[in-house]
Subunit: 792 residues, 2 copies
């Protein structure tokens, strides 16, 4: 991940094009830097015969302080062609392995850190790329994409030639799209095209300084004369105001970058009000996680390294998938491109009575081929899971009260049927669909009735269904052990089991009791399979299925093609779109809802957007001659193009992951054969099973990307600190011993995680590499297992 040292200013030099003087200007910077101390030059990949390499040029013209100049090349190829071709030729002719992007990035990272460790006084370093910003590197990935994990501050060498204004600006925009900070543009002061004249104000407007520098003399035929003239050129160039100005500016950028980062904790404590945080508990600067950037599954965070020569930026695994939003890792280029494309084409355009391609495509995909397949007819957009659930509730209540002809007064009393521990978002209306609890505010008005749920978990290695005592003596007196997870989630095959009868009786009795008590219910509202924020409760799917069946059977005269009993809402904000291994939970439950909600993963972890899907019968409840009967709910940015386009891109990426080897491999470990009713996880079955046997662990459970670990705690609940205490060691980088970790760049990393009382959970992206997963499992194990067990 990103590297930043206090004493070593590192810049990566990119070119707007090939042959724009990148090596010459880097030489000048190296030579100027040598005047003030050590300078390191790294050329990660070099092509061409010996003697022609940039590294020789740098050394030859290093000036009077040659001894302070340390050069290195990681990969040298003889053929003077693009690195990806040179690597392929070497493979074809000499069977030389083509290094992967990961290997190259780790090697660069390792070398830069080594250079940093070799000096304690201020020094400079330059990492010179090859060709233009997007020239392919050894594996064939373009440099910008391959080197993005390192996110070194950059200098862009602009193009001084005809057409160079365009190529310089485009190269800058490619850097920008990958989050690089461009500290300066350097280019030759060509007096004919005068590109610098144009580019200086252009980039100044973006806060970037452009330096125009003397161009080199013409090549001379005599090598000695040529060397003398080149040496003279460098002497004059380095004493030029331009280079001095550049050096001063780059040093100032470095200083201000450090100052800014180090001031951020205090400034944050002074200005920010965090969600879900008791500020009294976090008053120290070290309590603030400064995220300088993020890439793949990792944050790059400000750390206080043990050694003063270490990087003050360190990787930390985003173990909660940034509050359950991440699907493909941070800063995925295709997601950024989708956002930029939609912003460039539409910005945001108003939606009522209008349409645009991104919103329409997304609606069609979700309704016809996605979670709405087979039952939904319409998509309604809003901003987040909470607003989308409020829309779902308004839909269901309208459908129910209209069918039953309730008057304005009676309508207000209609509540919902749900499960204890449900959570549908933080707005007050969504909260009213939940019981009173720690999350609810002054205006909370619990509107409904909530049942206890039997849950699924792995205890001491065994899949166990825990049935609440409230289910009565018909339920087994102790936990019912089931087969494996596939058996448990094969709902159809369990419909005739004795436990199904227990569930059916309990649900029917409850409904009867509610009816007798006159409780008015207008919707069945469920988080299918997993109650997320309520504590990562994995509800027995058989119970949810029987609950739905029973509710629907309670009305015998429902119109055909319409909902029966109560409209059923599936809140799939958390569980949907493969978070727990399937696109929608309908494939497990074997029944469709009348209304469903998606958010979080929907936008690939970039921006808020949510969608409420509804069946035609629900839609018809708003159909009338009066405008007042329409669904009078809408947010200013409804169906914003950026969110919709990013969602479309996310669904495309998911389609490609679905067929990937990584998924097949994980599924294979769970003997998932793709049949209906089976489940799988990205986590290793043996790891989960062993973990569940630890003394401190009550139970563990996993589906898809989610791992939940419930700790034994007599004071369980939201304010319990037990999970946090148990895992506190994992947040910070341990050991720090060399050797490459699975983090991009290979630095050791800590793990960011979130807890819900006595439950800790970890969540990966849909494309987290197996290497990262295995290392994460190791870290969890090392943190939780007692030393003697860990030695086994």
């Amino acid at each position: 991940m990103s590297l930043l040292f206090k004493h070593l200013r590192v810049h990566q030099v990119f070119g707007a094009n090939t042959d724009v003087g990148k090596t010459i200007l880097t030489s000048a910077l190296v030579r100027a830097s040598a005047n003030s101390g050590n300078v390191y030059y790294l050329k990660p990949v070099s092509t061409g015969p010996p003697g022609t390499a940039d590294i020789e040029h740098i050394q030859r013209y290093a000036g009077t302080h040659k001894d302070r100049v340390h050069t290195h090349c990681l990969y040298q190829y003889q053929e003077p062609v693009s690195p990806h071709l040179a690597a392929r030729l070497a493979w074809e002719s000499k069977n030389t392995v083509i290094p992967t992007d990961e290997t190259v990035v780790n090697s660069i990272s390792h070398h830069v850190r080594q250079c940093a460790s070799r000096t304690i006084i201020p020094a400079h370093m330059y990492v010179e790329t090859a060709g233009g910003v997007h020239s392919p590197t050894l594996s064939g990935t373009t440099q910008l994409d391959a080197y993005r994990p390192l996110l070194l501050p950059t200098v862009l060498v602009g193009d001084y030639k005809l057409g160079g204004i365009s190529s310089s600006i485009s190269a800058y925009e490619s850097l920008l799209m990958r989050g690089f900070t461009v500290d300066a543009i350097l280019l030759f002061r060509d007096e004919y095209y005068r590109n610098w004249e144009y580019l200086q104000p252009y980039f100044a407007d973006k806060g970037i300084k452009t330096f125009a520098l003397s161009a080199p003399p013409a090549l001379l035929p005599d090598p000695t004369e040529n060397q003398q003239s080149t040496e003279a050129y460098y002497q004059s160039l380095v004493s030029e105001e331009g280079i001095a100005g550049t050096m001063e500016h780059l040093d100032a950028c470095h200083t201000s970058r450090l100052e800014d980062l180090e001031s951020m904790p205090k400034r944050t404590l002074d200005t920010i009000w965090w969600p879900f945080v008791q500020h009294q508990h976090f008053q120290k600067e070290s309590d603030v996680k400064v995220i300088d950037s993020a890439y793949s599954d990792f944050f790059s965070i400000l750390s206080q390294p043990k050694n003063s020569t270490d990087s003050i930026l360190q990787p930390q695994l985003d173990g909660s998938a940034s509050w359950w939003t991440q699907a493909f890792g941070h800063a995925h280029p295709a997601i950024t491109q989708a956002a930029a494309r939609a912003s460039g084409r539409y910005g945001h355009v108003m939606f009522p009575r209008a349409t645009h391609r991104p919103a329409l495509q997304l609606a069609e995909r979700l309704v016809n081929e996605g979670p709405g397949k087979g039952w939904a007819s319409r998509a309604f957009y809003s901003d987040d899971g909470s607003t989308a659930m409020e829309v779902a509730l308004k839909m269901a209540l309208r459908a129910y009260t209209t069918r039953h002809g309730l008057d304005a007064i009676d309508r207000k009393d209609v509540g919902i049927l749900g499960l204890k521990g449900s959570y549908h978002g933080d707005t007050i209306g969504a909260m009213n669909a939940c019981e009173e609890g720690v999350y609810t505010c002054e205006w909370h008005n619990a509107k409904g009735f909530w049942l206890d749920s039997p849950t699924v978990g792995i205890k001491d290695g065994k899949v166990t269904i825990t049935v609440p005592r409230s289910f009565g003596s018909a339920a087994a007196p102790k936990d019912l052990q089931s087969g494996d997870l596939s058996w448990t989630y094969n709902v159809e095959s369990r419909l005739d089991s004795p436990l199904a009868t227990v569930y059916r009786t309990h649900v029917q009795n409850t409904l009867d009791k509610l009816k007798r008590a006159g409780t008015k219910l207008g919707a069945l509202v469920l988080e299918p399979l997993v109650l997320g924020a309520g504590g990562m409760l994995f509800v027995d799917p058989l119970f949810q299925r029987i609950l739905i069946d029973t509710v629907r059977a309670s009305q015998s005269d429902a119109p055909s093609n319409s909902w029966s009993g109560l409209p059923v809402i599936f809140d799939e904000v958390f569980v949907g779109l493969y978070r727990i291994g399937m696109e929608t939970t309908t494939s497990i439950l074997g029944v469709n809802p009348d209304i469903s909600v998606n958010a979080k993963i929907l936008t690939g972890g970039l921006v808020p957007l949510a969608v409420t899907l509804a069946s035609d019968a629900i839609f018809q409840a708003f159909w009338s001659e009066s405008k007042a009967d329409s669904l009078l709910h809408g947010h200013s940015y409804t169906a914003h193009a950026v969110g919709c386009e990013v969602a479309n891109e996310s669904l495309r990426i998911i389609d490609s992951l679905r067929d990937s080897e990584e998924w097949k491999e994980a599924q294979g470990r769970w003997r998932y054969a793709g049949e209906k009713g089976r489940v799988w996880s990205f986590w290793d079955p043996l790891f989960v099973s062993t973990l569940s046997g630890l003394e401190s662990v009550e139970e563990a459970m996993t589906l898809g990307t989610v791992l939940a670990v419930k700790f034994k705690d007599s004071n369980a609940g939201y304010v319990s600190q037990s999970a946090e205490t148990m895992l506190s060691g994992i947040e910070h980088t341990q050991g720090g011993q060399a050797g490459f970790s699975s983090a991009p760049g290979g630095a050791p990393f800590g793990v960011h995680y979130r807890t819900l009382g006595n439950v800790a959970y970890f969540m990966t992206s849909l494309n987290t590499s197996s290497a990262v997963l295995r290392e994460l499992e190791d870290k969890i194990w090392t943190t939780l297992a007692p030393p003697e067990v860990a030695k086994d």
Copy 2:
């Protein structure tokens, strides 16, 4: 704006760099197109001496159907340098005016439309740009930015040379960031660098076809031989599979573009559930506005042109600023770049106990220098105005109930004090802060008391304050006429007026009555100055000031540095950030709130993001030893980096607009001198005044970007159709007579507008040009004024 013809396939040809064979490949396309019918070639800007121009080359090698090839150049300069330099030289030497971007775009648009009108059978057209994608055009703006309003489908000529992989990809990314659709990449099949081999799969992955075509022969010294060899090259090239494939592909793209657009109305009616729309009223395909793209203040919409040779895309003015969100026009490049930058650097990163630069900078700006200046201490992020108001309510209620030590039961009964017609968003909690009404749903629970408000409007040219009858006989029996708007909004100077006494008495009496009735109030919640969704009611600022003062005076023993009486919430979601001409309404009201909310303009009209600002006293109400006391509200995408970075960019743009000539000019018309208590508008004072005198108009009012027109209607209210009926003519393009309009590209345009019952409103961006405003005023006038008046 964007042009699209059924019978004429138009492509704009961009180059990845200069000298990559743009003219040669365009020649080949022209020649191939001539085989099937008419073909038009436009070179908007050409530089170089006569005989060297691309246009001669195209004509010379047009092949056997030369007569079908029609070429044109709009701007020809002799100097063989970049167009912006050529234009400057011509200006310096011959005093030739440098055409503005608008002039160039209008000329291109005009010419393209003329070509389309000259043929009725299928034809092709190519518009060839100069140099690379970002090469500057005549004014100095880069071509991509200057030509963006036309948004023609594009062909990108890739770079076949060393470094060409990089420049081709970067050029593509620059096109993408401006929303262009790239139908194909064409490049020479260079056998040494073989860039096409790399680029074909690279772009295929993005759904774009790459065609590799034979490179031209070497230049021959003898002109005749050279011409023969070039002619032979074109003969062979045009018969090549590559060009045939390209033609077929471009034709297919055109066909599928048309089919897609024309299918969108039906598909939308089949799948989309619109907010705030009674679908029964809009069942026809023609009821659906298909927005193909947007730029500046205009949508580019699918239309059924009167003439079959007209463009099926037409501009339509976004007269509601896309539901009050737009601040700088659609697809502003700086906003797109901000979004891309943040996406590339962070994606979204979780926020509790963390910080990142975009979120911190925004919070500091809002708290210390923005609407929170002088009173706020903290920023809390959420997703939209509605969620941010729920957060504000939770803050206020906690502060109030904590100070007064209310128990869990009593807390539930605390309501708010507000104004009739208020609107704070569509979530149920925000709705509970409003009266029961058409917008409220089954679960609505009106929690509070709402006062009538005196309003400000212009009636028959006179600024008038209308005081409700409920204010009693002390109020003047008829409307109180005030001086001008500046007088009305100079609140301090009116505090001792007789009307102030009337207000004070009424407010005090109301508070006393509520107290006697035992009504528990926990916050004063106001939309300052304008109640937006409630019907664009411009409340007399003096009344809001006195209401706040009186509420605050009701508690004599409030701690110093804390709120007094009730916490005061300003909902500035609509009015804030210069929507009505000032950053915050505190500058008019002369008092600060304890909590305030911003959204909409905050993110420059791109993505949802909202912020709730709070004073330290409010923050302290959540400070305790218990996690359960913290503000347990947060959305998954809280403080998402894209939204925050876009907001930071928006605030920077606003800073630059504040000093702009356009603003000074508009302010000058209202004799706004920047003093406290004065107001101004982008609309012309005489226009508003005259409009208010129309027979059908009850009153008109304007502040900042907003113009509201209230029509006389005995059945006023949300479901009233009167405003819609009065203005129905304005939505569609009228006349359609030539002559350049102020829309980009100069085509005649209709106006999209929204109504609230008998009130129509229009809203511009903060940078809408004076030309667009004046044309919009003309259109409104022409639509509303009776013909005899219009002739005056």
